[in-house]
Amino acid sequence: MKNCGWYLWLNGRKIYNIRDLRENFDTAVLSGYFLGGSLMKWLSDLGENSIIKRLGSVDMNSDIGSQLEFAFGVSPDIKSAHSGEIKPQNPPTELPVKASELGIGDTAVFCFGRASSFSAYSEAASSFGAAGSFYGFAESSFYGFAESSFYGFAESSFYSIAGTESSFGLASSYAAFVSVQAVNMIQSSGSSFRRLFASSEIFGTAGSFRGFLSGSYKGFYAGSYLLSLFGGSFLISSGMYGSFLRLSGALGEGSFVYINNGITVTAEEFRRTLINLSSCPLNAYGYGINLV
C-alpha cells in the first residue's frame, strides 16, 4: 500500500493512504478537502488516477458527499465515521464570559451619569480589575488602567485626569486612530478625551467623556465613533462633566447603574463595549507605525 508524503486529517487521524481513508471516511472534512483542491493533490501525489478521474465528473450542484463516497468505492450506506465530540456551541447572542475573567473587581460600581462624579478615594471601592485599573479614582483622576481591561492601552494610560495632568499616558497610538492630524500624546487640562475626537461637541466641552454608556450597548465601529455611541457624561471635577460617582450597594460584580434613570448595564455589555471600543479603532489604524 503506497503512502503519500503528507496526510489528510480525517476522523481525528492522520491518513496517508487510500485504505486508511476508506476506513476513516469523513464526509464533512473530505468535502472541504475536495472543494479546496487539496484532495486532488493528495490523490495525484499517490498516483490514484482512477479516483481522480471519477472525481473529475462530480456534479457541483448535487450532494458532493454522496459523490465522494461513490468515487472512493465506499458504500453509500456508510455514514461519516467521525467519532469526535461535537462541541456545544454558544447561543449566537452571547459571548462565553466568566465573571472572573472580565477584569472587573469586586465592587465595580460605576455610575455613568450626566452630572455625577466618581469620587472613589480608596482602591477598594473603585477597582476595575485585578491590576487596579480604576485605582484610586480620586475626584477627576483615572489612574492605572490595566492593560487587559482596556485592550490596547498602555499601563496607567488613563493617568490622572486631574486638572493639571490629564495625559492619556502611553496611549498615543489610540489618539492616532481618532485624530485626523497626528499621533500625539494627549495632554491637556481636563480634556484628555476631548482631544481624541474631532467632533468635540459630542464628547463634551470640558473634555469630559461625555457620551458614555446609557445602558445599552451600541456598536462602536471604526469610523463611526463620532456618531453612534453612548449618552451621558462623566464629571471630571466639581462643575465639570464627566466623572463617576462612587456608589455603594448591591449591584453585583461588574455591573453599572446609570444614575439618572436607574438603567443597569451588565458586566457583559460593558465588556462587549470595551472590546469594540478598543478593537475597532485600533484595527483601523495599525500599530508600530509611529515607532518606525
Binding site: 489528510l8 464526509t27 479546496g36 459571548l95 484595527n283 500599530y287 507605525i289
Partner: protein
Amino acid sequence: MVTDRAAAEYYRKNGIDKAWDSVLELIPEDIEGIDPEMFWAAGKLIALRDIPQNAALIDEDLIVWNKTELSGKAVTVAHREYLSPDIYPDPRLFGVRGFPLLDRLDFGVLPCNTAFLHIPDDSFRMFYAGQSIAFMKAASENKCGDRLCRMVFAEQRLLAMLCELTGTDIVPLMDMDRLFIAQENYTHLWGAKQAMRDNEGLRAGFVNRCRERIRNDFPDHADLIGAIDECTK
C-alpha cells in the same frame, strides 16, 4: 513574492522585483471562482496551498524589521484577536451551505491575525488552505455586501478553529494586549492604509521614516527606494 500576473508585471516593470529572490505567479486571475469582493484575500489561501515549498506568508502591509526564530511545530501568527461580534459574528449567520465542517468547530477560539503566518507542518497547511478555500467557494454561492466578516472568518478565525480541532499549537509573534506598547520589530499598517490614502501628510511622514530606516538598517537594499519612488510618481 507570490502574486498574480498583473502584480508581477508591475513589480518587474518598476524594478521592485529585485526586492525578492523571485516572483511566482501562482494566483489565478479568476481565483477559482471565488467572489473577489467578499474574499479579497482568497489569492493568499490559494498561494498557501500551491507554494512549491513551505514558507512564512507575510502580508505586504506587515513589515518585519528584525528576523525572528520560528517554531518547528507550532503555527506562528502575527497575534490573536478578540472575538468582536461586529467583526466575528456567529458564522452560522452567514448561511453558508456546503461547508459541513462548520458544525464541528469551536466558536469560542480566539482568531489569529494572519498578516504573518507560518505553518511548519505541510499537511496542516494543506488542510487549512483547502478548508478555507472550500468555505470561500461555498460562501461565494450567495453574494452579499459583506466585505469583512466572511473574509476574516475564512482566513483568520477558521485557522484558529482548525488548530483547536487538530490539537495544533499556535504561537503569536506579538501579544494582542500589548500591540501598542513600544517595540521595534514589527509595523503593521492594517487599517492605517485607508487613513494614509485619505491623508497625504500621514502617508508622507510614514514613507519618509521607512526610507530612513531602510537606509540605516538595510543599506544594501537602499537602491530599491529609488525604484519605488519612480513607480509612485
